[in-house]
């Protein structure tokens, strides 16, 4: 039964009834309700249990500030945790559950935390569950169960989320009166405007007000402004959109909820959208949050903020109580008393801590039959699961305390208001500071640190007319500044209300000892009480950031929207310092919680990371080769035949390459064309070897070092002309090497005439490897491939079947081998031609694993596997590549004392002593005999394979003074294998003299 529903009023459709369930029980609401308004309409008092003491809690607010009505919505894959009922639009079939309360909301076993709460002060968990350390796992199980922060779904999220980048002249955050009029004003000038509001309807505070603006009711005025915005093509209106992050360079993020209000899951539709906004100017018009008052038992179900009461009445046609008491220290809250009395409440009493002074609000309240009691405060609340009565005491403003004598007043609703706190969150996120205003008793935004302005109540401006004026002025200034012509806007007339100033009242202090008073809550979400703050001070915490962490004040998902200011003021009282000296904590994104789905957007599954495929990929895929990801590239790992396992496939491929003919797709190599008059002197500085001495058509294996002298990248490079070179880089290093080279060229040596162009994608590279490679290739090309005309480490141009190719006689396997470069558009065709030509010689495609085995048998390093940024050329046994006659990057570092240390780790070979065990890569090498104390680690295994041609395992390792240890035996240990005894050898295992690759 919607017992609290009014017969009329509100932006709801009483003809559209919606069914929903809350904690398993069925209820009804109307189209236009929020879940919270529907719960209030159904007179649901308890909506949750508090975080620590598991006290019953009710709905306090009506928007982003709500700390208690936080639910698990839906079930299965689409369930969402931590959702505020005040921000969920009701739809038919909605399923909501409280996140706390076990076994039930009405009886939560952990309420004992409340009974024994003297034990559970701030820091209780830190202090209690420390010992014994190994018990933590047991403590954790129970604590997590009790904490109840909601559950994430275990299934993948079936929803679609979308990202959109957008640029605009002005982004307006908040479509209340100030934001709306700023939007209209800026929009009319022609500027590109985005106006975003987290509510389904624009209008902000006006939605719950009966003000007359420019002769129109507030409802009509909102509608007319929205109509203007909709007709302007340069204005984008985003309702249901929370601006949750304000970052550098006026970059802001908006979370738009596109279909959340329709149902739990809408197939084929985008559920939420992340707008990434780059704005030239930002208008912050987010409004303000009403502050609670702090007094004993101020968390009982049935206590509600004044603004929320007005919202429920005016927006949803719901009256939250029949007999109300309103506790306030300011005039604005009177409106709620008037609203609820007018809506039909039997009795309403205003308890005002201030003395009586004439004001429009007092008159209006009296006129509609509201009782008033001045110089009084609420000193306690009676009722556990719902409010039954309050105790009212006289208040002595001279010493800020209340009298002991209390008078009881029955009620079912306690409305309260401690004044307003501007929503300075985004201003603060943008880098702006906030300053305390001693007249308005709140933090207001200080000087903006980016191109933004705060207007309306988020600037501490409370009077409607002033808000509208700020909106117009701000928009006109901004558009003029951006080069648009500002449009004249008439300030719509609105009622001028005479308002008395508020009285700061941070905490109701009783004359008797405050220690024995019931709990006075400051932060509802984290159960932070006044005594926790005093305890923190007693324990030596004085900075607000420390007190925040000790007491968890402001740590909830509401980020202290309600409690922060009261908490700071109470800390000020405890420290006997004014609040402006306490300062604020830092506000960080997100303003309200944002689902991971919308952060990930479309970058999921196969779109998470680009996968690059070579032009020959289809061949590999047809052969069912498993792929290995190398620097985003998919490279074939091995080519299984029939039901071969990896080891047999690799063995077959290795033997084929060593004994007849193998073929490999090496297209992923980085390829760079270098030309220009100074190409030689540029490359002389980059490579360690003598580039200038290279003949045209000659190839060389080259390494480049970082400034620290460590190996950065390696690869074959070739001189194609006097001033023309072709470089190859490692697959993974291609992009980095290119930008590294460009960086030196552009920033350090801009005088050099050098041009570098990537050829990585244009050229595909096919390696033909094995003793029969020359014979087969010769059947396809006219070029004489004999050693006399085309010896080892040479390059030339040629042609196969009319396709231009570049030939390189180079070898990464130690065999007679050729690499063929070809325009990628022809690569697959050429590959197939080579496969056909090699058929009689059993041509065998091989993948990266065989490539690794073949190169390891020869002791050729892989940069990044056998080196790790701490290996210099001498360590790697590449001293022969270092020119003594020229300077190059990293050369000086090679002469540092550390580079010359005798005990540096050096590249060596390893053989397992049993000749059978393959040593795990990454295994540490230690002394055979156990020593006492920590075992010295001499090095680690960097590459390890079974060598099919040799018939035993081989490995490469980096070992301290390795080259002096040939013949020595060590133990290779790792977490995933038994210790293996190994002996140290030279890092070469096959064809020690290199005759095969140089074969005549």
């Amino acid at each position: 039964m919607q017992t609290n529903r009014l017969n009329q009023g509100g932006f709801i459709d009483r003809h559209k009834t919606l069914r929903f369930t809350f904690n398993g029980q069925s209820y009804f609401g109307y189209q236009g309700d929020t879940l919270a308004s529907a719960l209030v309409a159904n007179d649901i008092k308890i909506v949750g249990r508090s975080f620590k003491y598991h006290r019953p809690r009710g709905i306090i607010g009506s928007g982003a500030e709500e700390p208690n009505a936080i639910f698990q919505i839906g079930s299965g894959a689409t369930t969402e945790a931590g959702m505020r009922a005040t921000q969920i639009e009701l739809y038919d079939g909605l399923v909501a559950k409280s996140e706390k309360g076990w076994p039930s909301l009405s009886f939560d076993i952990a309420i004992i935390n409340d009974w024994f709460s003297k034990l559970f002060g701030a820091g209780f968990y830190y202090k209690t569950f420390m010992y014994p350390a190994k018990f933590w796992k047991i403590y954790e199980y129970f604590l997590r169960r009790m904490a109840g922060l909601g559950r994430a779904p275990k299934q993948p999220d079936p929803d679609h989320y979308s990202h959109q980048n957008i640029h605009c002249d002005i982004l307006i955050v908040g479509a209340g009166p100030a934001g709306l009029i700023a939007g209209v004003s800026a929009g009319k000038s022609g500027a590109k405007v985005i106006i975003a509001d987290d509510q389904a309807m624009f209008g902000g505070s006006l939605l719950a007000s009966k003000e007359i603006i420019g002769g129109q009711s507030s409802e009509e005025w909102i509608a007319s402004q929205v109509e203007i915005l909709k007709t302007l093509p340069n204005v984008t209106c985003l309702p249901r959109s929370t601006v949750f992050g304000y970052y550098d360079y006026n970059f802001l993020t908006i979370n738009e909820r596109c279909t959340n209000h329709l149902s739990e899951f809408t197939a084929g539709k985008i559920r939420q959208k992340l707008w990434r906004v780059r704005a030239k100017r930002v208008v912050l018009a987010q409004g303000a949050f009403e502050r609670p008052l702090v007094f004993p038992n101020n968390d009982r179900p049935g206590i509600m903020l004044a603004s929320a009461v007005s919202n429920y009445i005016h927006r949803y046609g719901v009256i939250p109580g029949k007999n109300a008491v309103l506790f306030t220290n300011n005039d604005s809250a009177y409106q709620a008393a008037i609203d609820i009395k007018t809506a039909g409440a039997q009795s309403v009493l205003i308890v005002d801590s201030r003395s009586e002074q004439p004001s429009d609000m007092v008159d209006a309240a009296k006129k509609c039959g509201v009782e008033l009691q001045f110089d009084a405060v609420i000193r306690n609340v009676i009722g556990n699961k719902s409010i039954k009565a309050v105790q009212i005491s006289a208040y002595d403003a001279s010493d800020n305390t209340c009298k002991d004598k209390a008078e009881k007043r029955d009620c079912d609703l306690l409305i309260y208001s401690g004044g307003w706190s501007p929503a300075v969150h985004l201003h603060s996120q943008s880098g702006g500071k906030n300053k305390w205003d001693n007249e308005r008793h709140c933090f207001v935004p200080g000087k903006p640190s980016q191109a933004s302005s705060s207007i309306g109540s988020c600037n501490g401006t409370w009077i409607l007319e002033d808000c509208l004026k700020e909106g117009i002025t701000c928009a006109q200034e901004m558009v003029t500044n951006l080069g648009f012509k500002a449009v004249d806007m008439k300030l719509p007339s609105s009622k001028k209300t005479k308002i008395n100033p508020m009285m700061p009242l941070w905490q109701v202090i009783a004359k008797d000892s405050s220690e024995n008073l019931p709990k006075q809550f400051v932060d509802y979400q984290n159960d932070t009480t006044v005594s926790d703050i005093y305890l923190a001070v007693r324990e030596g915490y004085t900075g607000i950031e420390h007190v925040k962490r000790y007491t968890a004040l402001g740590f909830g998902t509401d980020q202290g929207k309600l409690g922060n200011i009261n908490g700071m003021a109470i800390l000020g009282q405890a420290l006997k310092k004014p609040i402006e000296q306490i300062g604020t904590t830092t506000f960080r994104p997100a303003y309200t919680p944002v689902t991971f789905g919308v952060v990930a957007g479309e970058d999921i599954d196969e779109m998470f990371e680009p996968t690059r495929k070579t032009a020959i990929h289809d061949f590999h895929a047809d052969r069912k080769a498993p792929f290995e990801i190398v620097g985003q590239w998919l490279r074939p790992w091995y080519f299984p035949e029939d039901n071969e396992d990896m080891l047999s496939a690799v063995s077959r491929e290795c033997i084929a390459a060593r004994s007849s003919l193998g073929i490999m797709d090496a297209s992923t190599l980085g390829k760079i064309d270098v030309c220009g008059k100074d190409a030689v002197s540029f490359l002389e500085k980059i490579y360690t070897h003598d580039v200038a001495k290279m003949a045209i058509g000659q190839c060389a294996y080259g390494i480049m070092l970082g400034e620290d002298g460590m190996i950065k990248d390696d690869g074959v490079m070739a001189r194609l002309g006097e001033n023309h070179f072709y470089l190859t880089t490692t697959t993974g290093g291609a992009a980095n090497v290119m930008s590294w080279l460009e960086q030196w060229l552009q920033t350090e040596w801009p005088h050099l005439d050098v041009y570098m162009t990537s050829l990585t994608d244009h050229l595909s590279t096919i390696a033909l490897v094995g003793p029969n490679s020359r014979r087969v290739l010769q059947t396809l090309v006219n070029t004489d491939l004999s050693a006399e005309f085309f010896p080892f480490m040479r390059t030339c141009k040629s042609e196969i079947a009319g396709i231009a190719i570049d030939l390189y006689r180079v070898s990464f396997s130690g065999e007679l081998a050729f690499e063929v470069n070809v325009n990628s558009n022809f690569a697959l065709h050429l590959w197939n031609l080579l496969m056909k030509a090699g058929k009689d010689f059993g041509i065998t495609p091989y993948g990266t694993e065989t490539m690794h085995v073949l190169r390891a048998e020869k002791g050729f390093i892989i940069v990044g596997q056998d080196t790790d940024g701490s290996v210099n050329p001498l360590d790697a046994g590449l001293g022969w590549l270092i020119s003594k006659e020229k300077d190059f990057l990293g050369k000086r570092s090679l002469e540092r004392a550390d580079s010359l240390r005798k005990d540096r780790k050096q590249l060596v070979g390893l053989l397992s002593v049993d000749n059978k065990s393959v040593i795990p890569e990454g295994a540490q090498l230690i002394e055979k005999k156990a020593t006492s104390g920590p075992t010295p680690m001499y090095g680690h295994v960097s590459s390890s394979y079974y060598s099919p041609i040799l018939g035993h395992p081989i490995a490469l390792a980096l070992v301290q003074s390795g080259r002096n240890r040939y013949g020595e035996k060590l133990l290779a240990v790792s977490s995933d294998a038994k210790a293996i005894e190994v002996s140290i050898t030279k890092p070469i295992f096959y064809d020690l003299k290199g005759e095969q690759q140089r074969v005549e």
């Binding site: 679609h160 979308s162 990202h163 959109q164 980048n165 957008i166 640029h167 590109k192 985008i270 990434r276 780059r278 479309e602 970058d603 196969e606 779109m607 990371e609 680009p610 996968t611 690059r612 495929k613 070579t614 032009a615 289809d618 590239w633 064309d673 030309c675 220009g676 008059k677 005439d753 041009y755 162009t757 990537s758 050829l759 990585t760 994608d761 244009h762 050229l763 595909s764 009319g802 396709i803 070809v822 325009n823 990628s824 558009n825 022809f826 690569a827 697959l828 065709h829």
Partner: protein, 197 residues
């Protein structure tokens, strides 16, 4: 004969009938396979270089940053000393005209790039989903180009007419990613790719 032996990135995306992909919502994607790409390097302070390039290609070399010139070919400005020529013409006669006396460095990139054309009312919105550059009507004009990103791939983006039509030039190995990206993100605007498989 040679052309039959070519295979392109995004082959899978090319509709057998017309190699064009269209949607009910005024968005079309066209994949241009049969075109050639040349990268040109040289100094703008060298008037011989500029004259020679313009003589060889019979077209102005765009010297303003982020613009392109249209004639027999499209020539895109990539950097103060770098341009990309996209042409349907055979490369051989063009390359033969290049004089070795001039400091002009040219690399064939035909196998290295793929061009897609995205056309229609929603083209801007679709691209903006993954492109952080301001490509709004007032900011990105016909004749402008930019090297920017789309999703997680680098692209060269150019606006050629008011339909609007965007040329998207992407490295071959990223073309499939970009194709998938347009397909997936295009769902929002009703883009419907025809897929061979």
């Amino acid at each position: 004969m040679l052309n039959e032996n070519k295979n392109y990135a995004l082959d899978d995306f090319i509709n057998e009938e017309k190699s064009s992909l269209s949607s009910s919502q005024g968005l079309g994607i066209n994949i241009r396979a049969e075109i050639n790409f040349l990268n040109i390097r040289g100094s703008i302070n060298d008037s011989d270089f500029i004259k020679h390039v313009e003589a060889v290609f019979q077209q102005a070399l765009p010297l303003d940053f982020n613009t392109f010139s249209v004639g027999e070919h499209h020539i895109y400005w990539l950097a103060p000393d770098e341009w990309l020529v996209v042409t349907e013409h055979d490369l051989k006669p063009i390359l033969q005209k290049i004089s070795p006396e001039i400091d002009l460095y040219i690399t064939n990139q035909t196998g290295g790039y793929t061009q897609l054309i995205l056309q229609g009312d929603y083209a801007r919105s679709l691209l903006s989903k993954g492109c952080t550059l301001d490509i709004g009507e007032k900011k990105f004009l016909i004749g402008q180009c930019a090297q920017t990103g789309l999703g997680k791939a680098g692209i060269l983006l150019a606006l050629t007419d008011s339909k609007p039509s965007f040329n998207i030039i992407v490295r071959r190995s990223f073309a499939e990613y970009v194709g998938l990206w347009l397909k997936q993100c295009g769902n929002e605007f009703g883009v419907n790719f025809t897929h061979k498989h």
